[in-house]
């Protein structure tokens, strides 16, 4: 009997050790762009899920039971920060009761903490809409900032999972050189876009349009977080007739009513872009997301 017991114990021990050695790092990304980046950098050493899809507005998510379970299991969370997830992430962290991913722990990684943000409001006043004190959080649309975030995230992977340090370094080097090559390609594709004018739905395209030197002449939302009103749309129409924008840009998850009205009245075409990975058929990782967006933007005449 004793022999049997020790045999079982040995088996169990072996199973535990092998589990620990081969267990993948469980990463919960708040948005699909970070899921894609974590997959690109972590390769087969990580298991990544995303809390939201490309069709969900990341401002308006509830800390629902299934997300609490995902957060409980995670070794590392990869989120935007800068108050983008303020309505649900703090609640998710508390309710998950997971010590690894709490603020200030190694398992808590926020993209917005790695780079400078643009559009920091000079004054904070809710009459200006739902503005983010830390600045514009939609940072994955600047390829240079994204590279910095990738570098910082790779460093974090190495610290959490030191056994696979070399592997992560290799993945990052490969990613960085491919990304830099792609930036050159995208920039050469985008030369015809310079000095074009756009109307956007929300401030979520600022990084992309700044990078491509497209001018933003108006927002469909009268204030951030407030859906288009008829009075505001009428003002925009006047603005449109005067400023002659080339395109109305909307994200795949945004309500199209206001954009359709303005387009019909002004004759300015609507261009729908995937906002993040999974937002269009072609955009299945960060590279193809940028490829798809750039090729769509090139339709602007």
């Amino acid at each position: 009997m004793n022999f049997k017991k020790s045999q079982i114990a040995l088996l169990l021990l072996g199973w535990l050790i092998s589990n620990a050695a081969f267990a993948k790092l469980d990463i919960l990304a708040c948005e699909p762009e970070w899921r894609s980046l974590a997959e690109l950098l972590g390769g087969d050493k990580v298991d990544v899920t995303s809390a939201t899809t490309a069709f969900q507005d990341p401002h308006h998510i509830e800390a629902r039971p299934s997300l609490i379970v995902k957060a409980r299991n995670a070794d590392l969370i990869f989120c935007t920060g800068a108050e983008l997830e303020i309505g649900w992430l703090p609640l998710l962290l508390t309710k998950s009761a997971n010590p690894r991913i709490q603020a200030s722990q190694l398992g808590n990684f926020l993209a917005s903490n790695q780079v400078e943000l643009i559009e920091k409001p000079a004054t904070l006043d809710r009459s200006q809409g739902d503005v983010h004190a830390a600045g514009n959080p939609h940072v994955h649309w600047d390829p240079y900032r994204l590279l910095k975030i990738a570098e910082a995230f790779s460093e974090r992977l190495k610290r959490i999972d030191a056994a696979n340090k070399d592997y992560y370094q290799q993945r990052y080097s490969a990613f960085a050189s491919r990304w830099n090559e792609s930036i050159d390609k995208w920039e050469s594709l985008a030369t015809s876009l310079q000095a074009k004018k756009a109307i956007v739905y929300h401030k979520n395209w600022s990084y992309l349009l700044n990078w491509l030197e497209v001018e933003i002449i108006g927002d469909l939302e009268p204030k951030p977080g407030i859906p288009p009103t008829s009075a505001h749309l009428a003002d925009l129409l006047t603005n449109t007739n005067y400023n002659k924008p080339d395109v109305i840009l909307i994200a795949n998850y945004q309500d199209k009513k206001g954009a359709l009205w303005l387009s019909k009245k002004s004759g300015v075409p609507i261009l729908e872009l995937p906002f993040t990975v999974g937002g269009s058929k072609a955009a299945d990782n960060l590279f193809t997301l940028y490829d798809d967006a750039l090729s769509r933007l090139n339709q602007i005449r």
Partner: protein, 366 residues
């Protein structure tokens, strides 16, 4: 005057606080303004006829250190020209304990049922359902200790126990050191990307000796205490939410229902003397700013009169439409129909209500 002093302490830092989100010097501050006009006094209601203020709330929350969160919520309510300040929440909560453990101590809202742990300003109707108003004093909070654990199952399964002093529930008096125990479990998950659900069961054991109660009708409620007592309460709750592709920004449908059964009302109660009630609510936000809802509910009560009971029943139907300019403001029009036996003021009413949240961004609880 002491209220004013307390208030000024709480309000003064506000101007500074709004500039940045929570940090050691500046906790998250939020306040809620809730006001209404109602056409009638109605049964089991604390909201009287004419203009009035509901739950005016001032709340501070912050991380204490890396292991604790602290929260303080004060509520101001005015009745008959008097303003009362009440502490609704003053608790600490642990952060990231091992084994999925989560401990809360101090004064807090009990987690029984579905609505009870939610703040009233996030409700979809002007008042809590009749069964909540009668048996839980609209929302049951008390001084005590909670221990929860999240079980390591592939779906959401939480079990928890709370112990309370107990004098916020009806009729409680006595020298028990722990007056109320609650047991609660919640299960939940996603059926698909568009559909999520949660199911809960709770048990409340009230150990304090039940004293004779105030009669409804006399009680236009200064206290938060529930109006009807029982030694044992059993609760079931279920919630289902739908949003196209899970994007609650534009459209969302919320179906929720609860059932409460209470027995052992007092020493004279026979097996037939029980309280019972339920509600079911359907709310549909059909555009980002607009929502409509219908709620049906019923409660059957036994009002204690010395050694016997009088039957009371109240059936309520509520219809509401609400508009939210932004995430932070809501204006609601509600029609409530009451039918009942054994109550004064069983009347139909129309309410116009506003709920404004200022300051820190509220949490999107399921």
């Amino acid at each position: 005057m002491k209220y004013f002093r307390l208030l000024s302490y709480l309000i003064l830092p506000f101007g500074i606080v709004l500039k940045v989100s929570a940090n050691p010097a500046n906790p998250d501050v939020s306040f809620i303004l809730d006001g209404f006009y109602k056409t009638e006094d109605t049964a089991l209601s604390k909201r009287g006829r004419s203009f009035g203020l509901g739950h005016t709330e001032l709340s501070l929350q912050s991380a204490v250190d890396d292991r604790f969160i602290g929260k303080l919520t004060t509520v101001l309510e005015s009745h008959d020209g008097e303003t009362e300040v009440e502490l609704e929440e003053a608790f600490l909560n642990t952060v990231g304990l091992p084994l999925g453990l989560d401990i809360r101590a101090g004064r807090f809202l009990s987690q029984v049922g579905y609505l009870n742990s939610h703040h009233t300003h996030s409700d979809h109707f002007a008042e809590r359902p009749a069964v909540y108003r009668a048996l839980l004093g609209a929302h049951y909070f008390d001084d005590g200790l909670r221990i929860n654990t999240l079980l390591p199952t592939p779906f959401f399964w939480r079990i928890g126990v709370e112990t309370f002093k107990g004098n916020q529930l009806a009729g409680g008096e006595g020298d028990e050191s722990v007056g109320v125990y609650t047991f609660n479990t919640k299960l939940g998950g996603d059926i698909s990307v568009s559909n999520s659900w949660q199911f809960g069961a709770s048990y409340i054991r009230h150990k304090l000796k039940v004293m004779e109660e105030e009669h409804e009708g006399h009680d236009h409620g200064h206290s938060h205490n529930a109006g009807y007592s029982a030694e044992k309460l059993y609760m079931l709750d279920a919630v289902w939410k739908w949003a196209p592709l899970g994007n609650a920004r534009n459209r969302q449908l919320i179906l929720s229902a609860e059932y409460i059964y209470a027995d052992d009302l007092n020493e004279y109660a026979t097996d037939d003397d029980t309280h019972e009630g339920w509600y079911a609510s359907l709310v549909y936000r059909f555009r980002p700013q607009w929502a409509v809802g219908i709620r049906q509910g019923e409660v059957e009560l036994k009002q204690a009169h010395d050694d016997h009971f009088h039957d009371q029943t109240l059936e309520e139907t509520d219809l509401m439409v609400s508009w939210s300019r932004s995430h932070f403001s809501t204006i609601r029009l509600q029609y409530s129909r009451q039918q009942g036996v054994g109550f004064e003021n069983v009347k139909d009413s129309v309410s116009l209500q506003y709920v404004m949240s200022i300051g820190a961004h509220g949490a999107h609880e399921f």
